[in-house]
C-alpha cells in the first residue's frame, strides 16, 4: 500500500475532516444555486438553531462515551418548558425569574440524576429507562399544562432569547460557554479521562478503582442540567410553550452524537466532531429551502437525516476494517491497556 493512500485513510479516519468537507461541499452547492444562503442573517439563523442541540449534545455525548445512551431529552425539554412557563409566566404563578429559572435547572439535574440512578443502581439498561422516560415525561407535560398553551414569559427573557446581547441570542452565548466547559472537562480533567476509560473498558476501569456509578450519575445529571439550560435559553424564542415542544429532539441529538463520530459502544469520540454534526444536521432544512426543491423536497428531510446516520456507521466500519495503524478498531474487552491510550481526545 502506497503511503499516499495510507495518509488519505488516516485523514478520513478523522470524522471531523469528513464532516467539514461535507459542510463545505453542501454550502458550495447551495450558494451556487442561491448566494442568499451565505447572507449573514441566514448563517446567524443556522447558528441560533444549532445552539440548543449543541448544548444538549455535550451532555449526551458524555453519556454515550460511558457506554450508555439517553433518548429522553426531547420530552425532558417539554416538561421543563412547561414547568418554566408555570413558574414565571405572567398568566401563571408569576414567580421571579431569579427563583423560577434556578428551579428549572435544579429540576432538570434531578431528573438526570434519577435516570442515572435507575441505570446504575437499578441496573436497567439505559435505552429502556430513557425510552420509558420519553413517554412518561411527555405525559407528565400534558398533565402539567392541563391542555392549555402557555405564553407571557417575562419580556426580558424573551428579548434575550430572540435578539440577545451583542447581536447574538442568549442561546448562542450559552452554547459557547457550555462547549468550552465540556471541552475542558474532557481534555484537562481526571473526570474526563475516567469517563472515556469507563467507556473503553468497564472492567479495566473498575479494576483500577474507578466508580462506575458516580461517573455515570455525573454524565446523566450533566445531560439533565444542560437540557434545562437549553430550555431556558431557547424556548422563549418560540411563540408559546406547547406540549409538542422538543418533539423528535432526542433523536436529533443522538444522531448528532453518532454522526459526530462518538462510538455508540463508548470510550471514543470528540467534541469537535459532534459540533460539526450539529451544524450539518441543522443545515438540512434551510438547505432544502434554498435549493428550492419544492414541495416534494421537504418530504426528504427525515430521509436525509437517516442517510447521515447510515453513512456515519458505514464509513466507520469500512474505514476501520482497512489494515492501517491501530486507531479505530473495535475496542477489545480485555482487562489491559486502553485506559490512557484510547481515551483522551483533543
Amino acid at each position: 500500500m502506497s503511503s499516499l493512500t495510507d495518509i488519505a485513510i488516516r485523514v478520513l479516519r478523522q470524522r471531523e475532516v469528513g464532516l467539514l468537507l461535507l459542510i463545505i461541499v453542501v454550502t458550495a452547492i447551495v450558494s451556487t444555486v442561491d448566494p442568499g444562503f451565505l447572507a449573514v442573517g441566514n448563517l446567524k439563523d443556522i447558528l441560533v438553531r444549532s445552539a440548543p442541540t449543541a448544548i444538549v449534545a455535550c451532555g449526551v455525548m458524555l453519556v454515550v462515551v460511558t457506554g450508555e445512551i439517553d433518548i429522553s431529552v426531547g420530552s425532558l425539554m417539554a416538561l421543563l418548558a412547561a414547568l418554566m412557563g408555570l413558574l414565571i409566566s405572567r398568566h401563571e404563578w408569576q414567580l421571579s425569574m431569579w427563583v423560577g429559572i434556578p428551579a428549572v435547572l435544579l429540576c432538570g439535574t434531578l431528573i438526570g440524576l434519577l435516570t442515572g440512578t435507575l441505570v446504575t443502581l437499578g441496573k436497567v439498561p439505559s435505552i429502556i429507562v430513557t425510552l420509558g422516560l420519553l413517554t412518561a415525561l411527555r405525559g407528565a407535560t400534558t398533565l402539567l399544562m392541563r391542555g392549555e398553551n402557555i405564553d407571557g414569559l417575562p419580556e426580558g427573557l424573551q428579548s434575550l432569547a430572540k435578539s440577545g446581547i451583542g447581536g447574538l441570542p442568549l442561546s448562542v452565548w450559552t452554547a459557547m460557554g457550555v462547549l468550552m466547559f465540556t471541552g475542558v472537562i474532557i481534555t484537562h480533567t481526571a473526570l474526563g479521562r475516567r469517563l472515556f476509560a469507563l467507556g473503553s473498558s468497564a472492567y479495566a476501569a473498575k479494576m483500577t478503582g474507578l466508580s462506575e456509578t458516580r461517573l455515570k450519575l455525573f454524565a446523566f445529571a450533566y445531560t439533565g442540567f444542560l437540557t434545562a439550560l437549553a430550555t431556558v435559553v431557547d424556548v422563549p424564542r418560540l411563540p408559546k410553550i406547547e406540549s409538542g415542544i422538543g418533539n423528535g429532539f432526542e433523536l436529533l441529538v443522538v444522531t448528532c452524537v453518532v454522526v459526530g463520530g462518538v462510538a455508540i459502544s463508548g470510550g471514543r469520540g470528540r467534541l469537535v466532531g459532534v459540533m460539526l454534526a450539529v451544524v450539518l444536521l441543522t443545515m438540512v432544512r434551510p438547505v432544502l429551502t434554498f435549493l428550492d426543491v419544492g414541495e416534494a423536497g421537504e418530504k426528504w428531510t427525515k430521509a436525509i437525516q437517516g442517510l447521515f446516520i447510515l453513512l456515519a456507521v458505514i464509513t466507520d466500519t469500512v474505514v476501520s476494517r482497512r489494515p492501517t495503524g491501530s486507531a479505530r478498531g473495535p475496542v477489545p474487552v480485555k482487562p489491559s491497556s486502553h485506559l490512557e491510550s484510547e481515551g483522551a481526545p483533543a
Binding site: 439563523d45 422516560l133 411527555r138 407535560t141 398553551n149 411563540p239 406547547e242 418533539n247
Partner: protein, 349 residues
C-alpha cells in the same frame, strides 16, 4: 456467592423494570386509567361509553373540542365520556388506544385519524367487535367508520383561506408569491385543504412557490417560515395551516420586522392568535366552531349507539345546534368562521 449476587441483581433489575413500566403507564397513558368503561357510577341504568380520540392531546384546538364534548355528555346524562389521545401526535399510539378500547368493549369510538392508513386496521377490528366507529375532525380510510362528523368541507376551508389572503392583501389584482406551511406530509386534513387551495390560487394573481412540512414542531415551523422569507424576496403571504405552523409563521414575520409587509393567515383557535391579530401580523384567522364540533360528535355518537341515527338519514337533531344536514355519510357542522380584529375578542377558546 456469585450466584447469590446474580440473583440479587436479577430481582433488583426486575423490580426496577416493574416500577419503570408502571410509572410510564401511569403518566404516559394519562387519563386512560382514571375512567374505565365498566364504571357505571352508581346509577342503575347502563351508561354508554363514548371514546373521543384526538390527533394530539394537550393542544388548545383539541382541548376546546373536548370542552364541547363534555357539554354534550353532561346534557345527555347517559354518557360516560373518555377523552384521551397521544400527546405527541403519533398515529401508532392512536391505533394502540383504539385496540385497547376494543378490548375493553366500549360502545362508540370517535377517531380523529392523524394518519388514516395507520389506524385503519384498528378501526376495522373495532367495528368487527361490534363497536360503532365514527371519524371526526379528519377523515379515515373508506370502510373504517359509519359516519364522518365533518367540521366544514375542505372546499369551504381551502377557499376561505385563499379568499381571506386575497382580501387582506388588498384585492384580486395583487400579485406576489405565497407559501403554505403545513403539518406533516401525511396529515389528511392539511392535504385535502392544499388540494383545494392550489386551484383556488391559480385563479388569483398570487403564485404558490412552495409547501413546507415542519410537522407538529414549533421550532421547525419557526425555522421554515424564517427560511422562506429569506428565500423569496417577493413573498407577500404565508398560509400557516396547522395549529403549530400558524403561530410559528406569525412569530417569524414579527421577529424579522415584516409585520404588515408579509401577511400570515391560516387556521387556529382565536385565543392562540389574538396577540398577532392585535399587532397587525395577522388580519384573518379562519376556523369553524371547535366547541360545536366536539358537541356534535358526541351527540352523533350517542344517536348512533341508540339506533336513532342510521345510514341513509339526511339530517340529525343536534341539541342546541338545531338540525344539522347529512350529505351521504358526512354529518356537516357548517360554514367557516373568519376572526378579524373586529370580532376576535368576542371568542374565548
Amino acid at each position: 456467592m456469585s450466584i447469590m449476587e446474580q440473583y440479587g441483581m436479577r430481582s433488583n433489575r426486575g423490580w426496577s423494570l416493574t416500577c419503570l413500566l408502571a410509572f410510564s403507564c401511569l403518566w404516559g397513558c394519562s387519563g386512560g386509567t382514571e375512567s374505565g368503561p365498566s364504571t357505571t357510577s352508581g346509577g342503575t341504568e347502563e351508561k354508554l361509553t363514548i371514546c373521543l380520540l384526538p390527533k394530539i392531546k394537550g393542544i388548545a384546538y383539541f382541548s376546546s373540542c373536548a370542552e364541547g364534548a363534555r357539554e354534550a355528555a353532561d346534557e345527555l346524562g347517559n354518557v360516560e365520556l373518555i377523552y384521551d389521545g397521544p400527546t405527541d401526535g403519533d398515529p401508532k399510539k392512536q391505533a394502540e388506544m383504539i385496540e385497547q378500547w376494543t378490548v375493553e368493549g366500549v360502545d362508540v369510538i370517535c377517531v380523529a385519524p392523524n394518519a388514516p392508513d395507520v389506524v385503519a386496521g384498528a378501526m376495522r377490528d373495532a367495528q368487527d367487535a361490534g363497536i360503532k366507529v365514527l371519524t371526526w375532525d379528519a377523515e379515515g380510510v373508506e370502510g373504517t367508520r359509519s359516519f364522518f362528523v365533518n367540521q366544514a368541507t375542505s372546499q369551504a376551508i381551502g377557499e376561505g383561506m385563499v379568499q381571506a389572503m386575497v382580501k387582506d392583501l388588498g384585492g384580486p389584482d395583487v400579485e406576489g408569491d405565497v407559501v403554505i406551511i403545513s403539518s406533516d406530509a401525511t396529515s389528511a386534513n392539511q392535504n385535502a385543504w392544499i388540494d383545494v387551495m392550489k386551484p383556488a390560487l391559480e385563479k388569483t394573481k398570487l403564485n404558490l412557490v412552495t409547501i413546507k412540512y415542519p410537522g407538529e414542531n414549533a421550532s421547525n415551523a419557526l425555522a421554515d417560515a424564517q427560511d422562506v422569507i429569506k428565500k423569496y424576496p417577493n413573498l407577500k403571504g404565508i398560509f400557516g395551516i396547522s395549529s403549530v405552523s400558524f403561530p410559528g409563521a406569525a412569530e417569524a414575520v414579527e421577529q424579522m420586522g415584516k409585520s404588515g409587509e408579509i401577511l400570515v393567515t391560516g387556521l387556529s383557535t382565536p385565543n392562540e392568535m389574538k396577540r398577532f391579530v392585535r399587532n397587525g401580523t395577522v388580519k384573518s384567522v379562519v376556523l369553524w366552531n371547535t366547541i360545536d364540533l366536539g358537541y356534535l360528535t358526541v351527540l352523533a355518537a350517542e344517536s348512533l349507539a341508540q339506533g336513532k341515527l342510521k345510514p341513509g338519514d339526511t339530517a340529525i337533531q343536534a341539541g342546541r345546534l338545531g338540525e344539522k344536514p347529512i350529505a351521504g355519510d358526512n354529518i356537516l357542522l357548517g360554514d367557516i368562521l373568519v376572526f378579524t380584529a373586529d370580532n376576535i375578542d368576542q371568542y374565548d377558546f
